[in-house]
């Protein structure tokens, strides 16, 4: 299983992806954990040759901060706007849809988005995002131990209220 955490650790809630990846790496589950900055072409290269991939990225979709959304790339198209926060405009959604177009999409690709509150340089993590990171690490851990648990997980596609406690 390849875990890809995307974002810039120095830009507020954009750190959510790398932080989830780092926490999963620390669980010692034998995962291949990779951190990327959001450049879509690097993501395309990183998706190559893997059958099972989980991507975690911050979102700016207009939802409440801390909202977690789960996308199954095999069955749905990513909403381009939600992940389009980066100055690197060939971003995560574009990369995944390009991989689909050129037939290099991993067989199993799950994308988790955590809605951020702010992306300013040097800004701290939003409290709701911090709770969402905890919830998502737990949800992915559950998904890895029992794949059928994923959709039933309370964290998948959750609102911040349900992840608050």
């Amino acid at each position: 299983m390849r875990i890809i955490g995307i974002g810039n650790r120095l830009r507020g809630d954009d750190a959510a992806g790398p932080l989830v990846a780092e926490r999963l790496a620390a669980l010692d589950l034998g995962l291949e954990v990779i951190e990327l900055d959001g450049d879509g072409t690097r993501l395309l290269e990183t998706l190559e040759g893997a059958a099972d991939v989980i991507v975690i990225d911050a979102m700016r979709s207009g939802a409440a901060p801390g909202t977690i959304r789960r996308f199954d790339a095999a069955s749905e198209t990513l909403p381009a706007g939600a992940f389009h926060y980066s100055s690197h405009a060939f971003g995560v959604a574009e990369a995944i849809e390009t991989a689909r177009a050129i037939d290099t999409l991993p067989a199993n690709l799950t994308i988790y988005g955590i809605e951020g509150a702010g992306f300013d340089f040097g800004a701290p993590l939003d409290a709701a995002v911090e709770r969402a990171i905890d919830a998502l690490v737990a949800a992915i851990r559950l998904e890895l131990s029992s794949p059928s648990a994923a959709a039933a997980s309370p964290a998948a596609n959750s609102s911040p209220a349900s992840t608050a406690r």
Binding site: D37, D39, G40, T41, L44, E45, A80, G81, H84, S87, H88, A89, F90, E94, E97, T98, R100, A101, I102, D103, F121
Partner: protein, 441 residues
């Protein structure tokens, strides 16, 4: 990310505003404001609100050897432009020359940067403009083989950076005087097959892009670039223009200056007479096409580039010809590479002032440093390409808008974005995203 606001949607009555919050497919954050009165353009402002980053102040007091790695952080797309511009300026100040295999390795890693940067921009960011496609992946759906080839070609650029520089983004192996460690001959030889693919793929992509429908716009640019005797300028040479300028690197400030403008966080570069000028692929090509290889000149001719390019939209073709040339150069350098005895030239710190310039993918990037007698940096000045191109981008926009006032707001906004993307503007560099407002009053 783009939003169109129309204050007065009825274009027969004067007065409307087109506003785009953020320009997609450029590096960094910027905005464009245009005011049109009775179909006459009164004001065009290309604003950059990516915050200033104060790199020049950050360098003061640090040892000369810190400059390449610190300035590399100005940009993740073209770190080599900063590393080599800084290194060359320091070497100028310290009285050393880097030549032979070390100079060849510098040109090789710079070819890698041109390939990676040009292909990303041309194939993934700029090509969709010509097909009326909002996203790169729409282009991939229509042309999967072209996109596969482009990705493999971009990866070749990254691989060259890794082989010579230790890693693809912000390489760690370059220093003032040369390299920390030179690559092994066998490791470079291993790149030959992929470089040969690159020569073929860049020609195929150039020919595919030649079939695009190019907007009708021409401008008699003042083209400023480097000039290298006997080679197409990349990392070495003096400064020239198509208007007869021919100056030493050190004399840049005598002919060019940067000014603060109220509407942008980036400085604006101008000629001393106040006029705008062009740097980047078209300027390089117009000044140096005769120095391309015969095969690159043939490719240029085949894709419809004459001796002089005046249509900025054709910059995508020049980028692909330059990519082809960079692959050829990479092949030549790798095939002839012998490991040098020393990875760098010895340096004794001393007081001095030095100047360096290289051809970043987006145009000339000029550096100047003053050192104290222990080799500490007293002052630093860096003039990146996008700052220099900003007044010309505004001029192009005014011209393109004037010819396209009959377009509706959405189509005009699209054409403006495309015009800006002609420059592959690296806005994060120039400040040391784009918001488009067209106000018709």
């Amino acid at each position: 990310m783009s939003r169109v606001e129309t204050r007065n949607p009825d274009r027969d009555r004067p007065g409307r505003v087109i506003k785009v919050d953020a320009l997609a497919r450029v590096e960094g954050e910027g905005a464009l404001y245009v005011r049109v009165k009775n179909d006459v353009i009164e004001d065009v402002k290309f604003r950059i609100f990516e915050p200033p980053r104060f790199f020049e102040a950050l360098l003061r007091g640090r040892p000369y050897g810190d400059a390449p790695d610190i300035t590399a952080r100005i940009c993740g797309i073209c770190p080599i432009a900063y590393m080599l511009g800084a290194s060359r300026a320091m070497e100028d100040a310290l009285g050393v020359t880097v030549d032979g295999a070390l100079a060849d390795l510098r040109r090789l890693i710079y070819c890698g940067e041109w390939i990676e940067s040009h292909v990303l921009h041309a194939a993934m960011l700029h090509a969709p403009d010509f097909l009326g496609m909002p996203d790169a992946f729409a282009f991939a759906k229509a042309n999967p083989d072209a996109v596969k080839a482009a990705l493999r070609l971009k990866k070749l650029g990254n691989t060259i950076l890794e082989a010579v520089g230790g890693r693809a983004v912000h390489p760690v192996n370059l220093c003032v005087g040369g390299f920390y460690k030179v690559p092994r001959k066998r490791d470079l030889q291993a790149l030959l097959g992929e470089i040969e693919f690159g020569i073929e793929a860049s020609a195929t992509l150039a020919k595919a892009f030649a079939g695009f429908d190019y907007p009708d716009f021409d401008y008699d640019y003042t083209c400023v670039s480097m000039k290298t005797p006997g080679a197409y300028a990349i990392e070495d040479g003096t400064l020239v223009s198509n208007r007869g300028l021919d100056i030493a690197v050190a004399d840049f400030p005598d002919h060019f200056f940067e000014e603060h403008v109220a509407h942008s966080n980036a400085l604006h570069g101008r000629m001393r007479d106040g006029s705008a000028y062009l740097v980047g692929p078209i300027a390089r090509y117009n000044n140096n096409a005769a120095d391309l290889s015969p095969a690159a000149r043939d490719l240029a001719r085949e894709v419809g580039l004459g001796d002089v390019v005046t249509n900025p939209f054709r910059s995508i073709l020049v980028r692909m010809v330059e990519t082809f040339y960079a692959c050829e150069e990479a092949l030549r350098i790798v095939a002839g590479y012998e490991e040098p005895d020393a990875p760098r030239v010895a340096i004794e710190p001393r007081a001095g002032r030095g100047f360096g310039v290289t051809e970043a993918p987006r145009g000339i990037c000029w550096h100047s440093y003053e050192l104290d007698d222990e080799g500490r940096i007293l002052s630093a000045t860096i003039v990146p390409p996008t700052s220099q191109n900003q007044p010309q981008i505004e001029t192009d926009l005014a011209g393109v808008i004037a010819r396209n006032l009959d377009l509706d707001d959405e189509a005009l906004k699209w054409r403006c974005e495309q015009t800006i993307r002609n420059y592959d503007p690296c806005i994060s560099c120039a400040t040391h995203f784009l918001d488009l407002t067209v106000e018709r009053v």
